[in-house]
Symmetry: C2
Subunit: 241 residues, 2 copies
């Protein structure tokens, strides 16, 4: 219907500048693994997660706040940080009540780009919090951009699949005139029943599986195992409404 | 196999800078309608087609060479040019032996970007010359980039479908580690048997169909009806080997 809000999918941070995200909700998607880790840490009771772009900032803020520092570049833990970018590193026994300062190759970069572009609201999504994200987007009745973090600006399949999963659940509530969104939903419908074998074909799987991360990656495409809404407020991601 | 050439798909001119196309073949894809028109005009006997970026250049070169000027912006014929961007405007009775100077919204722009990036060879492809393009790429044994012209840098489905059609035919001859290519072939396989109904869902269809271009667009997704190889040589597209 004409008076429904619109929905677009942005396949790469390199294409963000083609869209006017002002007054809209931007969903940051980095399935392998930043936004899967963010959902998991908050679900397990982290007080907040501070996403930062640069490693130096991560170290400096971590020291100042006596917080846990974490991050990766090119899939590996960074020297000088305490932890990596795996959801499995953040069980409740470790993360409850704590603050995490996180920097990653792709996801935290896109998040800052969206904030600088004037998005009204920034949330993060991955399969572990698929339902929380979908419900929130329907409830808000605002224009939505599903932002794929990609890999160094190159299109990736796992972020696209998550965009498709969201679209599949919420499309009746939005006006969608966006080929990226049509494609994302098609890809999701084509592979939703064979996700664990499909992700083994992606370039990112080949990149990360060589570090022994297979279980991690399978977790990242499992729906609703950490079903919270990470919402950016006052410089940090916290559990939203 | 490791010693096979590589193949990548570039989903938008806005992502071309992520790839090193030097010493490679770049296939310019603008299904609706520049590269469909280029194949058709050459198939019908045009001597050559000079692709130019700016309307003023189109007019100036047309005057100098006593050539036919043609082009569109946003799907419409441009004031000052003689013809538009429809394959149907270039039957043999009109175009045989003539030179066409062509400017379009997306396709001619990407072609010039590829040339400036140092591509070893630039050819153009669309469904009307699918087999000619596929055979050439197999025969050349060089690295290949399938370049989608997109719509003002936004991803589009019809160019992606053509990339998928090419990949479907030639993939055994290339090493493909590229999520865009995996997606393109999936989308092609999903819709190859319902192409005429599928293209009616795309944003570009809605943009162009309002100008009464339905027959034109159906022609543009019909394989091998103008099966030549448009190859860029000395400033113009000519029929290649």
């Amino acid at each position: 219907m004409a008076n429904q809000p619109t929905l677009h999918t942005i396949l790469s941070p390199g294409l963000l500048n083609l869209y006017d995200v002002k007054d809209s909700i931007v969903v940051i998607i980095d399935v392998f693994r930043a936004t899967s880790t963010i959902a998991t840490a908050l679900y397990n009771g982290a007080e907040k997660i501070i996403p930062v772009a640069a490693v130096e900032d991560c170290i400096a803020i971590g020291k100042k706040l006596q917080a846990i520092t974490a991050g990766e570049r090119d899939g590996k833990i960074i020297e000088g940080l305490q932890h990596g970018n795996s959801p499995a590193e953040y069980p409740a026994s470790f993360i409850k009540g704590k603050t995490l300062v996180l920097t990653t190759t792709n996801g935290t970069k896109l998040l800052h780009m969206a904030l600088e572009s004037g998005a009204a609201e920034v949330i993060t999504g991955s399969f572990p919090n698929l339902t929380a994200v979908s419900r929130h987007l329907i409830a808000m009745k605002k224009n939505v951009f599903l932002g794929c973090s990609a890999w160094k600006n190159r299109f990736n399949l796992e972020d696209t699949m998550f965009a498709g999963a969201v679209i599949n659940r919420i499309k009746d509530h939005f006006t969608i005139r966006c080929d990226s969104s049509l494609m994302a939903e098609d890809m999701y419908n084509m592979h939703k029943h064979d996700m664990n074998s499909f992700i083994r074909k992606t370039t990112h799987w080949h990149r990360l599986a060589s570090y022994g991360l297979e279980k991690d990656l399978e977790y990242c495409v499992t729906p609703d195992v950490a079903n919270v809404l990470p919402q950016y407020k006052d410089g940090a991601l916290v559990v939203g409404q």
